[in-house]
C-alpha cells in the first residue's frame, strides 16, 4: 500500500509501485481529468501538478509521488464554483473536443501560481509540451491570459472574483 495525497486528501492505494500516477488517479481514485494520450510524455494530456510543478503523470511512477501533494483539475474547482483557470476556459470557449484541455490547464495553472503576469511568449514556451489536434490554440492562449487577469483581479480584491 502506498499513500498519496491528491487534492488535499490522503489515499491509501493498492497498486504496484511502478504504476504510473495517471492510472492511480483514473482507476484507483476515479478521477477523470488527467487523460491518457500517449503514455510517452509527448503530448501533455496527462499533466497534473505535483508539489507546485506540472508533471506528466503517464510517465511518473507512484513510487515517486509518495508523500507529495498531487493536484488535479478536479482539485481546482467545480462546475458550480470554478477556479479562475476554469472560468477563463469556459468564458473563452477554449475547447473543441477538449481532450487535451485538462492537461493544458494544469500546466497553465502551475505557471500562473509562480508567475501571475506571464508574457505571451512565456505562455507559449510553457505550453510547448502540449499538443492540441483540434487547433484550439488561439483560444487556449486567450484563456490563459484571461485566467491570469482573473487571478490578478482576485488578488487585488482580496479573493473576490471579477465579473467579465
Amino acid at each position: 500500500m502506498t499513500t498519496v495525497t491528491v487534492n488535499g486528501r490522503d489515499h491509501r492505494v493498492d497498486a504496484e509501485p511502478d504504476t504510473p500516477l495517471l492510472y492511480v488517479l483514473r482507476d484507483e481514485l476515479g478521477l477523470n481529468a488527467a487523460k491518457f494520450g500517449c503514455g510517452l510524455g509527448q503530448c501533455g494530456a496527462c499533466t497534473v501538478i505535483v508539489d507546485g510543478k506540472a508533471v506528466l503523470s503517464c510517465v511518473t511512477p507512484l513510487l515517486l509521488v509518495e508523500g507529495k501533494q498531487v493536484t488535479t483539475l478536479e482539485g481546482l474547482g467545480s462546475v458550480e464554483t470554478p477556479a479562475p483557470i476554469q472560468r477563463a476556459f469556459i468564458e473563452e470557449q477554449a475547447a473543441q473536443c477538449g481532450y487535451c484541455i485538462a492537461g493544458m490547464m494544469m500546466r497553465a495553472q502551475a505557471l500562473l501560481q509562480r508567475n501571475i503576469r506571464p508574457s505571451n511568449d512565456e505562455i507559449r514556451a510553457e505550453l510547448m509540451p502540449h499538443l492540441c489536434r483540434c487547433g484550439t490554440h488561439m483560444r487556449i492562449l486567450r484563456a490563459v491570459h484571461r485566467a491570469a487577469h482573473l487571478m490578478q483581479t482576485a488578488d487585488a480584491s482580496t479573493g473576490r472574483r471579477s465579473t467579465p
Binding site: 497498486a15 470557449q93 487547433g135
Partner: protein, 737 residues
Amino acid sequence: MKGPVLDRRSVLAGSGALIVSFSLGEAFAQDPAAPKPPGSLATAPYLDSWIRIDADGGITAFTGKAELGQGFKTAFQQIAAEELDVAFAQVKVVTADTSRTANEGYTSGSHSMQDSGTAILHAAAQVRALLVAEAARRLDLPAENFRTENGAVIAPDGRRVAYGELVAGDWLHVQAQPTSPLKDPSTFRVIGQPVPRVDIPAKVTGGAAYVQDLRLPGMVHARVVRPPGYGAQLTACDTAAVEKLPGVIKVVRDGNFLAVVAKKEFQAIKAMAALAAAAKWTETAKLPKQDDLPRMLTSLPSQDKTIFQAGNAMVAGRKTLEATYTRPYQSHGSIGPSCAVAQSVDDAMTVWTHTQGVYPDRAAIAEMLRVPPASVRLIHVEGSGCYGHNGADDAAADAALIARELPGVPVRVQWMREQEHGWEPYGPAMVTKLKASLDDSGAIADWHFEVWSNTHSMRPGGAGSLLAAQHMAQPFAVPAAKPIPLPEGGGDRNAIPIYTFPNAKVVHHFIPDMPIRISAMRALGAYHNVFSIESFMDELASAAGADPVEFRLRHLDDPRGRDVIERAAQGFGWQKGQKAPPDRGYGFAFARYKNLAAYCAIASEVEVNRDTGRPRLVRAVAAVDGGQVVNPDGLINQIEGAILQSMSWTLYEAVSFDDGRITSIDWQTYPILRFNAVPDSVTVHIIDRPGKPFLGSGETGQGPAAASIANAIADACGKRVRDLPLTRRKIKAAIDA
C-alpha cells in the same frame, strides 16, 4: 372514426382543420412521388424521432449524429429551443444511439447541420404548429391568433396551455410534412446567438465527458496486441506465463487477433507487453517506397473517368503552365487513442463507442460476431476528436470481440499510442496534375485537372472493414474499394473548379489498390484538390501579372463566393500590388466545400527563415458563409481549428513507413503543430445568411488554409513547393535551387 380528435396531417399541411380523425396506421402513407420533408426527415419522417415532450414540459431533441467536439449538440439545442419557443435550458439533446435515435448514417462530410440540424428545425416547427392547433381545439377557438412563449400556447384572450398538458402517448408519432411553418429569422432569439457550449463545463472540471471516462460496475481492462505489420500471421504464442501475471483474467486469441484482459488498467498494459513479447509473427507486407509515392500512385491500375468537361478542351491559349502537386498519407492523429467499452448480457451486446456511425458500425460488428443486428446496441459517447475515420470503429469491434468471451462483464479496451498511429486508416496519398493556359487578356483559356487517388472511405459497411474481423481465425475480407459518387465525391471532391473557364476537363483516376490502410479524413480529397487548384490559380495569376484576389474574382460568377473573397481580402487589408515585408509573403485561397456546402476564403501572412527554410504562419484572416448561422462562436471555433489543423498537415505531416511496417508511431515520429508555431492572430469573419439553408462548415477551411499558406510561402521566397508537406527542408532546397 374514433371521435373528434385533431387531424395532425391537415394541420401540418396548413389547412388548420381540426376535425377528422383516423387511425395512425394507415393515415400517413405517403405518395412516394410526393416531395419529401427536408434534411434527415426525408429518411426518418416521424416527428417523435426528433422531438419529444414530456408531461412536465421537458423537451428532448434527438439526433442520430455524433458529437465529435464540433459543438453541434449545443447548436441543435438552440434550433429546437428557437422553433419551439422555449428557453435554451429547457431542451436536452440525445445523440446517436441505435436504441434511441434515428439512423443518420455517419457523422461526416460536414452534414450534421444540413441533415440533422435541418430535421430538428423543421420537426420542431411542425411540433409547435401541432401544439397550437391542439390548444385551439381544446379552447374551442380558431387557431389563427395563438402564439407560443416559454413552453406554452397562449390564446388571444390570454389563456395559457403548457406544452406538457397538450401531449400524451404517441401524439407526436406522426409523419412530417414537406414544408414547415418556420419562424421569421428576424424574430430569432436563440438561433444566431453565441450560446456557450453545453459540454465545456464538464470538460474543464474533470467531469465524465468521454468514453474513456466510462466506469461500469465490475468493469475490466483489455489491451490488444496488434500484428507488427499489415497481413502478419501469428505463428506461435505461449500464453502460459502471461496468464499468471498479476490481475490477468484472460488471454483472448482468435486467429491473428490477440488480446489480454486484466482487473486493473496498468496490469493489462504490462500483460500486453509480455504477450507481445511472447507472440511470434510471420511478416509478409510489402509496402511501397515512401519517397516514390507519386510514381507509385500514378502507375497503379486506375479506373479513369472524365468527371467534367466544358467547351473544347483542346483549345490552348498564348501561355501554358503545367504543375504536379502531391500529398502523402496523413494521420488523423487523435490526441486520445481510440477506446470502447462492451458488455455482453444474455446474448445482447452493448458497445459504448466514439464511432461516427452507430448504425453502420452496429451492422459491421453484428456481422463480425455472426449475430443479428438487433442483438447489438451501439451507444455513442464522445471520444477525443477524430476528424474522420480513425481507430474508433476498430476499438469498438475489439471490445465486442473480447466482451463476448466474458459474458456479463463490461470490458474496456483502450488503444495505445503506437496502435492508433500505426493502425488507423490514414488520409490517402494523392497526386494532381494541372495544365492551363492564358489568353491574350490574361484570362484562363483552358484548364486541365487530373487527380489520382484511392477511395476516401473504407468505413464499415461490413465486418471486413474492422481490424478485429480481418484478424479473426475465420476472417472477413476487406471489401472492395468504391469511389464516393459525385457531387460530393471522394478523391475527386472539389476536383471540379468552381471558377468559370471557357474550356475545361477534369479526370478522376480512381485507384482500387490500397497499399496502405486508408479511409476518410477531414475534407477527403478536397484538401489536396483545393490546395492544387488554388496554388495553381496563384501560379497563373503570377504568369498573367494579375493580383491573386482580382484574378480569382475575374473567373468567379458565384455571388456568395465573391462575397467571402472580398470579405477576407478586406479583413486582411489585401491591396493590389502590395509587397510583404522582407522574408514575409501574403497568400490567398478560396473554395466552396464540395461546391455545395460552406464557402471559405483565407488570406494569410507567412514568414520564411531563409537560412533554415522554416515557415511560420504569422496571421490568417478568414471569411465564411455557412448559410443561416446558428452559433457564430461555434462556427468561428471550427474555422479557427480548420486553419491551425490544416496548417499542421500542410507544413509538417507525413505518415512514414519502411518495406514492411509503418514507422510513424508516436508524436516524435509523426510531429505536428506545437505552440511555438502558433500564429500571432487568426480572425474569422462570418457572412450570415438568415433564413438560408445550413451549409456544412466543419471541413470547408482545410483546403483554403493549405493553399493560402502555400501561396504565402511562394510569395515570401519566390519559389514554389508543390509536394506536401511544405517542410523547411523542401523550402530551403527550393530557395537554394
